[in-house]
Amino acid sequence: MKNLLFRFTLGIVVLLFNMSLFAQDPDLLKLLGDDNEKKEIIRNAFKSPRVINSHSMEFLRPGTMDFRILHRFGQLNQGYKNFFGLDQASMRMGFDFGILQNLMVGLGRSTYKKELDAFIKYAPIRQSKGPWSSPVTFALVSGITMDGTSWSDPSRKNFFTSRLAYYFEAIIGRKFSEAFSLQVSPTMVHKNLVPFETDPNNIYAVGVGGRLKLSKRIAITWDYSHVIIGMPDSGYYNPLSVGFDIETGGHVFQLHFSNSTGMNERAFITETTSNWMKGEVRFGFNLSRVFQIKKKKLNN
């Protein structure tokens, strides 16, 4: 009896074992075990390294150059006489270069105040997933602008340094989902020379920029800077821009409406003179074309 029971049990065990071997779909890949999860940087929070006016948390890839042509037109409320502002255009031409995954530099020139500007942008921390990942990107931007117009008062002693202004910015940003990204950027602008003694040399602002993707290639973007300390009493407003990013192969078009004409941090944060509330809105666009300067070697 005992013997019989033993045989029976053994039979069942053998049967079960065989079944388990044959029943499973032969998933050979599982035999190798799961790969160790690697840290992976989250990319493409924004389509381009600028939200609209402000720097975004995104970086150019190393070895690429972004040729940017920016236009800001006159106010829409000028009506047909000035073709809703399109008769007047202010522009900036810029060249940005990706050096490392988290380091880029750029320079540009604007028609407004014949201003040259240059910046360096570096991210010590980038949003990532996997072990030792960070939920946000933390980037730093430092820039300089140089006014190119003639001296307003040539009779007094003028210094070259009076043409210069600087800006320092920290960007804390997160791509919350494939569709939604948001960033906050505390910024300080320092002007070496201000028109009036009462004007502050240091202006502190906080920028908020975001993106909401509508489809794979089209997104709504917005970009607002709020001046906290140093806003002149009257005549100046906080810059707000709202627009669309449209990606077409090698180009990114950023079409938007804004109250600012300035296209560098000094200009748009401290010298925006139009007011959304009065309908003083302008149409503008950024055209970005990325060129590969140094190709990645594939070694076939």
Binding site: L31, L32, T64, E247
Partner: protein, 185 residues
């Protein structure tokens, strides 16, 4: 009683030993979607594909991370992941199939064996049947394999926008090469 025990043990042992499996984690996969009117070559290489072959029954499987495909141009790589393959949503491509003429291959004898591989390729969340011409090469007891096939991108719901439709081929040519090591269980 004793007999039965021995038999059972023998069955167990046979089952684990017979499965001769080989693998690699460095299979190379080339991707080419260049069309005759493409302004630049649309090609990428991935050298980190995983492959496992069971020489007993000819089962063969591949897995590859989409983000591991390297392009010459960064923007192309970005578009590949972001707009076409949607690599965040569908991080892996997998192939599960079998070597059709596995019985004709003598894995212990040097030679080049042309074979047909048939199976299912899953990428971009879609699966489709794939037939590939392949070669199994045995040299000094080492197994390596090479295959070449084309896939229709629309079969995997990879859509190409009208604006660039004539610049990207509607089919992608996939070339696979790998050399395998024995897998110890």
């Amino acid at each position: 009683m004793k007999n039965l025990f021995v038999t059972t043990f023998a069955v167990f042992a046979a089952m684990t030993c017979l499965g001769q499996k080989f693998y690699t984690k460095n299979a190379q996969i080339n991707f080419d979607a260049t069309s005759s009117s493409s302004p630049e070559r649309i090609e990428a290489i991935n050298r980190t594909a995983t492959c496992v072959v069971d020489t007993k029954n000819g089962n063969i499987q591949f897995a590859v991370l989409m983000k591991g495909f390297a392009f010459e141009r960064a923007l192309m790589e970005e578009h590949f992941n972001e707009n076409y393959m949607e690599s965040d949503k569908f991080p892996k491509a997998e192939f599960k199939g079998e070597i059709k003429d596995n019985d004709d291959i003598n894995y212990s004898k040097d030679g080049i064996y042309p074979v047909k591989v048939k199976g299912k390729l899953t990428m971009h969340g879609e699966s489709d049947d794939v037939d590939a011409e392949a070669k199994i090469i045995i040299l000094n007891g080492k197994i390596s394999a090479a295959a070449d096939f084309t896939v229709k991108l629309s079969d995997y719901k990879i859509s190409i926008p009208g604006l660039v439709a004539d610049k990207i081929s509607k089919t992608a040519r996939i070339t696979v090469t790998c050399s395998l090591e024995p897998l110890k269980n």
